[in-house]
């Protein structure tokens, strides 16, 4: 099938070039933590409101038995009889979890009307957006990871991981509260919409990016034709693409969009529709605006 063939020939190098260009135009990305009560955004380590490694003072606690004496904060201990240890607020980078749908339906690009511009497949576009976001986040000092692995990795590794993912159900590693999730999918697989709520329930914020081909949004067919789904067992469907059929399809399409958007809103996430005939930069900038901010330098790379 055509979809399988495309899968094997996914050229991450080419995608990486596009992603680098998009990230360079975007600049460093820092994740926004509005739920932490800080109005502004800051780049770098984010305070975790618990003791841990960090620069900010958290609290003093009594020296526990068996603890090394050199950890005693003598200045505090001098004011009382017991010995205290100074602890710091734990600070960890925020994590950006990315997922690009590996479903076969993503391996689709409609035949362009003019031969000059060739549309990318939805999956290619999703991977480019994901890689661009990962790269920008990396520059912003944030940790990024593939949603299924959750282990922070370099942006390029994230791209490789995402592109190597096998099609199937949406699989997610456990998320920490405060993580930011970006889902890039067409949500045509039946389980996709339902997977948003469980992710949100783990405390993560996120953006649902609905990647759509212009043909899917416009249904530009005319006359008698057979439409075939990408799944191998699918029967070709003979339709007469009249105005009536188009209306019926467009209705189903808006229903689909509404379903995704509703699921995202319910979970408190953002929804974004991205058509593959629009520039990748548009999507990356919109997503970045939703999940964080770009550096003051606006594109200057450090």
């Amino acid at each position: 099938m055509a979809a399988d063939r495309h899968r094997h020939t996914l050229d991450t190098n080419a995608l990486w070039v596009d992603a680098e260009r998009a990230a360079a135009l975007l600049g460093p990305l820092s994740l926004q933590r509005p739920e932490m009560g800080r109005l502004g955004w800051r780049q770098g380590p984010h305070p975790r409101r618990r003791a841990g490694q960090g620069s900010e003072f958290w609290q003093y606690r009594p020296l526990e038995a068996g603890e090394a004496v050199d950890r005693v904060d003598w200045r505090r201990s001098g004011r009382s009889d017991s010995l205290y240890v100074r602890t710091h607020e734990r600070e960890l980078p925020a994590r950006l979890a990315l997922w690009a749908d590996p479903a076969p339906s993503m391996d689709y690009a409609s035949a362009p009307r003019a031969a000059a511009t060739r549309l990318p497949e939805k999956r290619q576009r999703a991977l480019v957006i994901a890689a661009a976001l990962a790269l920008a986040a990396e520059e912003g000092g944030e940790a990024c990871a593939a949603l299924s692995l959750a282990r922070p990795a370099k942006a390029r590794q994230v791209l490789e991981q995402l592109s190597a993912e096998a099609s199937g159900t949406l699989h997610s590693a456990p998320l920490a509260p405060g993580d930011t999730v970006v889902l890039l999918s067409d949500f045509l697989e039946p389980d996709r919409i339902g997977a948003i709520a469980p992710l949100a329930s783990q405390g993560a914020g996120g953006v649902v990016v609905h990647v759509a081909d212009p043909a899917e949004a416009d249904f530009p067919f005319e006359g008698r034709m057979e439409l075939v789904d990408v799944t191998p067992q699918a029967e070709p469907r003979l339709i007469d693409a009249s105005a009536q059929t188009r209306a019926r399809y467009l209705e189903a399409w808006s229903h689909h969009v509404n379903a995704i958007e509703g699921a995202a809103r319910t979970a408190g996430w953002h929804y974004l529709l991205h058509r593959t005939d629009t520039p990748v930069q548009e999507a990356v900038t919109a997503i970045a605006a939703l999940i964080g901010g770009v550096g003051v330098g606006g594109g200057a790379r450090r």
Partner: protein, 920 residues
Amino acid sequence: MISPASFSLGPFTLAAPAVLAGLAALPLLWWLIRRLPPPTKRVVFPAVRLLGPVVEQPPPQARPPWWLVVLRLGAVTAILLGLAGPRWDPTPDTPAPERLLVVMDNGWQSAPGWPEMVAAARTRIEALEGDEARVALAATAVSAANRPIRTPDWVTPKTALALLEQMTPEPWPANREAAARALARLAPGSADEALWVTGGWGVEGAKPLAQALERVAGARLLVVPARMFAIRQYEGTADGWRVQMVRPSGLPEETVRLLAIDTAGRPRAEAPVSFPAGETTATVNLKVAVGDLARISRLTVDESRSAATTALVDAASLHPRVAVLSGERRGEPRPLQSAAYYVRRALEPYASVEAVAAENMTRTEANLRVFLDLPVTTQAQADAMLRWVREGGIAITFAGPRIAENGTRLAPGQLLTGTRAVGTRLSWDKPQKLGGFAPNGPLAGMTIDPEVTITRQVLAADPSAPGLMRWAWLEDGTPLVTARIVGAGALVMVHANADPRWTNLPLSGLFEQMLRRFLPLLGRASQPGGAPQGSFALETALDADGALANPRQPRQVAPEVWDNAAASPLTPPGLYRAGTVTRALNLMQGNGPISPLFRFEPVVPEAGLPVASADGVRAPVNLATPLLILGLVLAAIDGFLSLARLLNLRLPRPSAARAAASATAVALALMALPHPAGAQIFPPGLPLEDRPGSPPAAAVEPVLLGHVATGNALLDSRARDGLAMLTRILGTRTAVRAGPPQPVNLERDELGTYAMLYWPLTGAKPLSPEAAARLAAYLSTGGLLVVDLGSNPPPPSAVRAVLQPLGLPRLAPLNSDHVLSRSFYLLDRYPGRVQGQAVWVEAATEGGTEGGGDGAVASVVMGSADWAGAWASPDGVEPRQREWALRFGVNLVMYALTGTYKADQVHVKAILDRLPERKR
């Protein structure tokens, strides 16, 4: 003819109407096309699942696009219609008569439209129906002189068609009166209809013929128009012909091409002839390349080949082209001493005269060459010239000192070496006067000018030799002008100079008259006196279409009536020959039908007959072929589109429709094309060749001395060393700065750059013609040749053999009065390694023994002193003797450079003698 199976609807006929039944299958085809839709497109579209599992009505069958239906139905329709054999025959349907009299105008004016005229007559004859139908067919021009126009017989249409096929237009005028007389013998009213088929021109005899026709039956005139042109006049000019053409009046502006065709039938030159709107005449100057002029056999019009537009060209119509070849040295002497000057002044009003360098003798195209004291001695040149004379050239040779010394192969008879001097200081007798002119020669009847005297002449060895004609002689009977006919040309010899040194003939008016009398020799040299030899016999006939053919019957024209001969059955136009003379007889010649005032006059008003529609002669248009082509093209387009869909070529629909539309347009255009027009042949544009650039002259030293490479290493090295030493001496003693001496190959190297050529001549190998021509050219342009025979000179005969091709004048010993002995040093001896040998220079030069004081400069110095040897090394030469040798060398170079500049040195003694006298 209409067969029972055919179908006709007015002018539209179908050969096989049964095929049209196939058109009934068109609705079936239409139904089939609708039933067999194009295959459904299959498109991958993942979002189809959004449509849900609703089972919908299977959509109706797709319909093929309208243009496909049109394409296929159109293809089938066109092929079926084409197979039905449709013809558009616009001949109006006239009631067919039973007995038809057809008169074909077949004079020279019918030639352009003859096929159409025959077709028109054929249509009328074919239209006759019934077994009782009879046709009488008559022509207005006789096919030959001995076949008069006879009263036509009534024959069956089939026979009449066969007779019609045999008729041809004739290259002479129609004789309508004779035709009318012949038709008068038919019983009045014996025909149902009389038809006069004509091209529509010429009023002569139109009335009697019309009356004769009217008497026989109701007569009609069928005019078949054609493009008519005629050459009215033509005359030779210096570079071609001036041609006046004429056409019928009232026509719009048009241009035709006038061609000059050579003897091989190829066009050699062309000129457009533009008739302004409404004008009937146009004149054009047809320019022909000089080299092609003699090869042109006829002038014709490209668009209309007929006897009227063909002018055969003979030698008599050629314009005299005179090449004057002079043996005079140093370019052009003072005009009044130059023979070439007198000849040119005499001939220029009557001919195009061109001065030609002697070395270009064979390369120049001319039909009359005048050799002025220019001996033609080499075999190659003489052969070329004699061949040219045999082909009709006229070679006129004037004698002079060079011819007296060397003779010439172009003399009509053997010449005695040397000159006969009369009336000079050493002879008793007085200068000779003219004695008379031969009455049968071209000079016959000229008056003898008593003032003309001759003091020196070249004598013929045998004045009574067979074939040698004496055209003019002196008082004592010695010939002054002799001639001999060679082939179609003539050799003429004037036994005196053309400049005033030997005779004052060039100064008299007689000279010009004489030369003028020679011009008409062109083309009729075999009858120099104008007396013809036998009759002119027709050799090649010109037919009415302007093509040359073998004569159908032998024809003779007596020479005395030649000038009045006109194209007629008795004297058909063509090329006639008498002996070696070829003459052309054209329509537009003499009293021919195309007079200088000729106009095309329409026959219709003169005849006064009702005119039948000329449309009837249009050939039926065959519609089958274009229809079949259209059908096949449409089918091919359909096949291509189907194939493209099968192969899933991405053809967007709009462009497919466009492609179909444009292909249909192409097919329609193809159909609109008439039958392929005759290919026009244009002479291919010749790319301009890059001329080889002249050799670079930058490296040339101001003065160069050369020595002729002999191939003998010792001689060459000694000559080089000698000249090198001489160059050094020149540098120290004179202002001459000469470059290093160069060996010179006479056959290859450019000679003109050398001031002086030193030639150690030892061998007896004669000069090659090429080398001789180049060396002669070098000498005539002011070069100095020093021939050194060495200390061991070869026998004089050998030297003469070597130098013969140069045509050198007489040499005389160098004396101390010659400019050469005074040009730098005053010398009285000229030794090399050998002392005491005489040095020879041209006799008739300044300071020479025969010098007339006219400033001539010698171009040849000859001696046997081995000068180069003396110059090269002092070994074995006395220092004093070597000094003399070097001084002579300096004098040679100075003489070569300054010529007679130091001539006053020659006369200084006399000048000095006179000066004190004046003062006294």
